[in-house]
C-alpha cells in the first residue's frame, strides 16, 4: 500500500473500527430486571431522606466553618492578600511621617549635610525652611552653598513641617530604608 491516499483511507477505516469496538457494545442483559426490582421497592420519593440528610450535613459543615472563622478574629492588617505581589509586601512598613511629609521634596539628607553649625535655628533646634528666624529677620543665603531642591510647603505651619522632614528622614539608617 504505497499510495498515501490509500494509506490515509485505510487509517480512517481502522480508526472507525477501533472506535466502534470501543462504544458499540452491549450492556448487561439483566438491566431490565435490576431496574424493575428497584421500581418495585417503593415510590419515587424513597430516595429523598438521603438527600435531606446530605443537605443537613452540608449545612452543618458550613456553619462550623463560619464559627471557626469568627473565633479566629479578623485577619492581621499586614496579611498578604491574593492581589498583592511579593514585591509589594516585601518593603518594610515605615512609621507615618504625618500630614506634612508630602509637602517636601525627596532629597532631604543632602540638605541636612549642607546646613552649617552656626546657622540660625528655630526654637526647636531645626533650621528654618523659608528664611525666617524666631525674630522674623531675613536669613543670609550663602551663594557658595549647593542649591537644594525647591521646597513648596502646602501648609503654612513650618514648625510642624521641619522636624519630621529633616530629622526623621535623615535619621534613618541604611537598614531602615526600603
Amino acid at each position: 500500500m504505497s499510495d498515501p491516499r490509500r494509506r490515509r483511507a485505510a487509517l480512517d477505516d481502522e480508526l472507525d473500527a477501533a472506535l466502534a469496538r470501543t462504544v458499540r457494545r452491549a450492556g448487561r442483559t439483566d438491566l431490565r430486571a435490576r431496574v424493575m426490582a428497584s421500581v418495585a421497592q417503593g415510590p419515587p420519593s424513597a430516595g429523598q431522606p438521603l438527600v435531606l440528610w446530605t443537605a443537613v450535613a452540608a449545612a452543618g459543615v458550613v456553619a462550623a466553618m463560619i464559627a471557626a472563622h469568627s473565633l479566629r478574629g479578623p485577619a492581621a492588617p499586614l496579611e498578604r492578600t491574593a492581589n498583592e505581589t511579593p514585591a509589594a509586601t516585601a518593603a518594610p512598613v515605615l512609621p507615618s511621617p504625618g500630614p506634612a511629609a508630602h509637602t517636601l521634596a525627596p532629597a532631604r539628607p543632602a540638605r541636612t549635610a549642607a546646613i552649617r553649625p552656626d546657622r540660625p535655628r528655630l526654637a526647636n533646634g531645626n533650621p528654618p525652611l523659608d528664611g525666617a528666624t524666631d525674630e522674623g529677620a531675613a536669613l543670609v543665603i550663602d551663594p557658595l552653598e549647593q542649591p537644594s531642591p525647591p521646597i513648596v510647603p502646602l501648609h503654612t505651619d513650618a514648625l510642624a513641617i521641619v522636624p519630621l522632614a529633616i530629622d526623621d528622614v535623615g535619621s534613618l539608617s541604611s537598614e531602615d530604608r526600603p
Binding site: R8, L11, E14, L15, V23, R25, G27, V35, M36
Partner: protein, 187 residues
C-alpha cells in the same frame, strides 16, 4: 405498541410497560453512558440510574421529543454527573489510571495476526482518546455508537450541528495524526 402508549400505561401504574421501555432502549442508553464514561461497569450503573430517574420523572415527559431522545438525554446527564463525581476521582487516584479498559473480544477474521494488530490499534486508540479534550471526545464517541446522528447529538449536548461536525472532524484529525506518528499510516 408505541413508546408513547407505553409511557401512558406506565404512568397509570403499569410497571411492566416501563419494563418494556427499558428493554427497547437499554442498549442505546448503555452506549451513550459508555461514550461518556468509557468504562462498561460504570456505564452499566449509570444506565440503571438513568432508567430509575426516568421512571420517577415519567410524568414530566410531555412528548415534545421522542421518548428515546428524552431517555438518552437523561442517560447522558446521569453519566456526566457520575463522570464529575468524587467517587470517580477517588477511583482514578487509587487505580492511578492504569486500569486497562476491557475491550470486547475481537473477531478473529482472517488470521490471528490481524486480530492481534486490531487489538493493538484498539489499545492505542483507547489511550489517545483519554488524552483528547472531552469537548472533542464526547461527540466523536457518541457518533461512533451509531445510535444517533448529528441532530440528535445537537439536542443532547446543546451544541450546534456545525460545531459538532467540526469537533468530530478535529477529533479524528488529532487521532490520525498521533496514530501516524506511531507508524499506522506508513504500512
Amino acid at each position: 405498541m408505541t413508546d408513547g402508549a407505553l409511557v401512558e400505561r406506565a404512568c397509570a401504574g403499569d410497571a411492566e410497560a416501563f419494563g418494556e421501555l427499558v428493554d427497547r432502549h437499554r442498549e442505546a442508553v448503555f452506549r451513550a453512558a459508555l461514550a461518556a464514561l468509557r468504562d462498561p461497569a460504570e456505564a452499566d450503573d449509570a444506565a440503571q440510574d438513568a432508567f430509575l430517574l426516568a421512571y420517577r420523572k415519567l410524568r414530566s415527559y410531555r412528548g415534545e421529543s421522542s421518548f428515546r431522545t428524552w431517555m438518552l438525554t437523561i442517560a447522558w446527564r446521569t453519566a456526566l454527573r457520575r463522570r464529575r463525581g468524587w467517587r470517580r476521582w477517588v477511583t482514578r487516584l487509587v487505580l492511578d489510571g492504569s486500569a486497562p479498559f476491557p475491550r470486547p473480544p475481537i473477531d478473529a477474521g482472517p488470521s490471528p495476526e490481524t486480530a492481534a494488530a486490531q487489538a493493538e490499534l484498539a489499545g492505542h486508540v483507547e489511550r489517545l482518546l483519554g488524552r483528547l479534550p472531552s469537548r472533542l471526545r464526547d461527540p466523536l464517541l457518541l457518533l461512533a455508537t451509531g445510535d444517533q446522528g448529528y441532530a440528535e447529538m445537537s439536542a443532547l449536548l446543546g451544541v450546534p450541528v456545525g460545531t459538532l461536525k467540526w469537533r468530530v472532524a478535529e477529533a479524528r484529525r488529532q487521532l490520525k495524526e498521533k496514530l501516524s506518528r506511531l507508524g499506522y499510516a506508513d504500512e
